[in-house]
Symmetry: C2
């Protein structure tokens, strides 16, 4: 949610474009700088590393996705259906640009301590959505009822999110295809959200 000046925006946009076209390794900072019409030093004035640029991109992309998904109440007649909807939308949204998605996963899992907070915020964003889906609320709105924060729902949504993430990483590494990601989440929610 930080305000980015024009240069920072151009840098992130360029990085997204390059990652989308040819993946992580194609995000060469010299190219980013040149394409964004900015000096390399300016890139490093804004971002501490290549990973940070990509994390900023992830933040931007996921905020867009979440905004789209979170606008309306999650459709579905039971928790399981709603959860499927949310993860499906999330997965398909990311898969629309597979190379970008892989690059973002790589940054997410890089273990760089400097980006821990951004990773946590991404995590929180999804948790919010999944919990809203379980409860049948509109993710973008504050919770209607002051439900206890430490309930089973929180645990379940954390588990589902972990399953999704691990499976998504598996997809990014070529372990299996996108359908498997949805199937993994489906099976887990079946067991955890028995209607």
């Amino acid at each position: 949610m930080d305000v980015m000046d024009d240069r920072a925006k151009r840098i992130v946009e360029t990085a997204v474009a390059l990652a989308e076209r040819d993946g992580y390794q194609a995000v060469r900072l010299r190219d980013v700088a040149a394409t964004a019409q900015v000096a390399l030093g300016t890139v490093y004035k804004r971002f501490a590393s290549k990973e940070e640029i990509l994390i900023a991109a992830l933040e931007q992309e996921s905020e867009k996705l979440v905004a789209k998904i979170g606008k309306k109440p999650v459709p579905g007649s039971d928790a399981q259906e709603r959860v499927r909807f949310v993860f499906s939308a999330l997965t398909k949204g990311l898969l629309r640009r597979p190379n970008l998605a892989k690059a973002l996963v790589r940054s997410l899992a890089s273990g760089d301590p400097n980006i821990t907070e951004r990773v946590a915020s991404f995590h929180g964003l999804i948790t919010t959505m999944v919990m809203a889906a379980i409860r049948g609320e509109t993710p973008g709105e504050p919770a209607a009822s002051p439900v206890g924060v430490d309930g089973r729902e929180q645990t379940v949504s954390s588990i589902l999110q972990n399953v999704w993430f691990a499976s998504f990483v598996g997809w990014a590494g070529g372990l299996h295809d996108a359908a498997q990601v949805l199937e993994d989440v489906d099976k887990a929610s079946e067991l955890l959200l028995a209607a």
Copy 2:
């Protein structure tokens, strides 16, 4: 299980030692080569990249761990206890050398298509152990009874493994501490393996 010649072994050992001392970035291939008393070209004759060396290390480390855990029947009077034992042993075994563990996670999640098979084999190793734990068998032994391969147990063990992996990545990224990893797995097995 490939047979590694002396040089390859020295290379991996050196990489492990460096990763253990100071983490991923400290595994400088020039240093690895020098310490292993080998030319840089020889390193690249054996391994296609730095990631591959670390994946070989992961294979070696996880085989050691699995051998140790899988020797005896998993202790515990119900599935939940046995699963806790397995993941606890796995987690603690890896956490004995945190920097190494972080470096290995990073390689695991790197998304490099060249190491997909190794990642899959690591995945399979753990699946075997978790399923044995659920069933109360000795992981090292072939299954006593010809249980159907596609059962609920397989799904549950896959979910638990995903939860463990995602939480472990979270630990590696500084998102939370090791106790949280075990707690996440615990909560999941509580819900999935209700005694």
